[in-house]
């Protein structure tokens, strides 16, 4: 996944949008910036397949030695697939955050949330202001 072409949430999730049989599917992960800020990851709580998620609501959490952070859904929809391999390979979140480090795929039920997302330039600006 080319991270320059992804969309980003203020809460540091990235999103890649595709179409499949007329449905909009979003692959969601955690930005390299956020993973780097967390460091020393020890645990990820993944959402469940079939789970309904909504904009700005927690759908999982990622835990480091120092702190625990919620994963917030940037969109409204239903989880159709989760990256189970992360449970045993948390490293993927830092070594390949936009590839093997993907967290979940969500089928959109509403496109409202998309309007709040940023492109890479706006996201970079947010990170440098943080």
């Amino acid at each position: 996944m080319n991270h320059e072409e992804l969309l980003y949430a203020e809460t540091h999730e990235w999103l890649h949008l595709t179409e499949q049989d007329g449905d909009k599917i979003a692959t969601i992960g955690i930005s390299a910036f956020a993973v780097e800020a967390l460091t020393d990851l020890v645990y990820i709580q993944l959402p469940e397949v079939g789970q309904k998620v909504s904009v700005g609501k927690s759908f999982g959490e990622v835990e480091s030695v120092k702190a625990v952070s919620d994963l917030y859904s940037p969109i409204e929809g239903e989880v159709i697939e989760v990256n189970e391999s992360l449970a045993n390979d948390l490293e993927a979140l830092s070594t390949d955050p936009y590839g093997k480090g993907w967290v979940a795929k969500i089928k959109l039920t509403d496109e409202g949330g998309l309007a709040n997302l940023m492109d890479i330039d706006s996201y970079r600006k947010q990170c440098s202001d943080d």
């Binding site: 460091t39 020393d40 020890v42 645990y43 835990e63 030695v65 120092k66």
Partner: protein, 372 residues
């Protein structure tokens, strides 16, 4: 970072070595440089170097210095030998812990004094407390925190590093310095007080020196030999290291609402044949039953128990977590907690409520980690 935070003499070094600076007790301190786990492991395996200049250093001189300290400290001080160090507590009248401190004794004729190393967050409180209590005694108090730096060198190779960097006086050797003893040495003509103490559970040393030589000494330790792989370590790993070693931290396991007996610090309290502030209360507390006790907990899974999380026994609330982490050495989640005495026994099966998920935990003996 706001300019109101105090800075140690190593502040610029931390910033230029990408230390992530945080506000710790009013000081701008590095929480980590690379990763907490990497810095933790470097300390357990080789040697970690810590800036602990934020710790308060208070000098006590004057003819009544021994009686004064014996009046304030929970542990007897009159029998402490010259150059030796003792861990002790300061309590209030109700037996609540004001601070936990290291006490150093120096008897040199021209410069006889004692030194208290206190927690950064308690420095002002303790300085005022000492001042307030000193009126009936002929003592002089001086806060040396701003004019000195303090560096900890911890890990199995610390014993090789220190003699290579700091010169011991003729007939002395830092490698032979005993645990909880101190010895002055010199680094480039500057006097450095070397003590065999630490807060990591490893062998190691703590150094006190004038601020002006701090950066030079810090670099000399890091660069002394690439084979030692000495690494700067931030407060993040300092916390995970002390937690594995079962050492309490003020503000977490120790507060004014906690007394030394429930904190399992009996070794640091001498009630017999002496009087000190808090003694009468502690004598009474000793007879009491039912006080929450400090315990170690080992948890299942990988989720981290954090401060304030509830501890449960058969779904009944029996206490709370005061510190927790994912142990980099044991690779399991660990916590220290205060629980009711009924469940405070080793092997006791409990649960910790981790954000709504009840997670199995077992009471284990402290420390969690002991060096070989």
């Amino acid at each position: 970072m706001t300019s109101t935070l105090a800075q140690t003499p190593l502040h610029s070094w931390h910033v230029s070595h990408v230390g992530r600076m945080v506000d710790f007790a009013g000081w701008s301190m590095p929480v980590q440089y690379s990763s907490i786990v990497a810095e933790h492991r470097a300390t357990r395996r080789h040697v970690g170097v810590f800036d602990i200049s934020h710790m308060g250093r208070i000098r006590i001189a004057g003819p009544d210095r021994v009686q004064f300290l014996d009046h304030l400290l929970t542990r007897q001080m009159t029998d402490l030998a010259e150059g030796c160090i003792r861990y002790s507590l300061l309590c209030n009248e109700s037996g609540g812990i004001l601070d936990d401190v290291l006490v150093y004794r120096f008897d040199d004729q021209q410069n006889a004094h004692w030194l208290l190393v206190v927690n950064a967050g308690n420095r002002n409180k303790i300085a005022s407390w000492l001042d307030q209590q000193s009126h009936a005694f002929n003592v002089e108090l001086e806060d040396l925190t701003a004019t000195t730096a303090m560096i900890a060198v911890q890990g199995p190779l610390a014993v090789q590093v220190i003699p290579r960097v700091i010169a011991a006086p003729p007939g002395h050797s830092f490698a032979k310095l005993k645990y909880y003893q101190s010895q002055p040495g010199t680094f480039h003509n500057t006097r450095v007080l070397v003590s065999r103490t630490g807060y990591t559970g490893e062998d190691g040393f703590e150094l006190i020196l004038p601020t002006g030589s701090a950066v030079e000494l810090w670099n000399a330790i890091l660069d002394c030999d690439p084979d030692y792989a000495a690494q700067a370590v931030g407060l993040g790993a300092r916390d995970t290291l002390r937690l594995e070693a079962g050492m309490p931290l003020y503000g977490h396991e120790l507060t004014e609402e906690i007394n030394p007996l429930q904190a399992e610090l009996h070794f640091a309290v001498n009630l017999k044949g002496r009087n000190f502030i808090g003694r009468e209360s502690l004598q009474m507390i000793q007879q009491e039953i039912g006080q929450p006790q400090r315990v170690g907990l080992k948890l299942e899974g990988r989720r981290v128990p954090r401060e304030g999380y509830r501890v449960l026994s058969d779904r009944a609330d029996v206490g709370h977590v005061t510190s927790g982490t994912f142990s980099p050495t044991l690779e399991v989640p660990l916590a220290m907690a205060y629980v009711t005495p009924q469940v405070a026994t080793e092997g006791s099966k409990l649960h910790v409520d981790i954000r709504g998920t009840s997670t199995a935990a077992r009471v284990v003996k402290l420390p969690f980690y002991r060096r070989k």
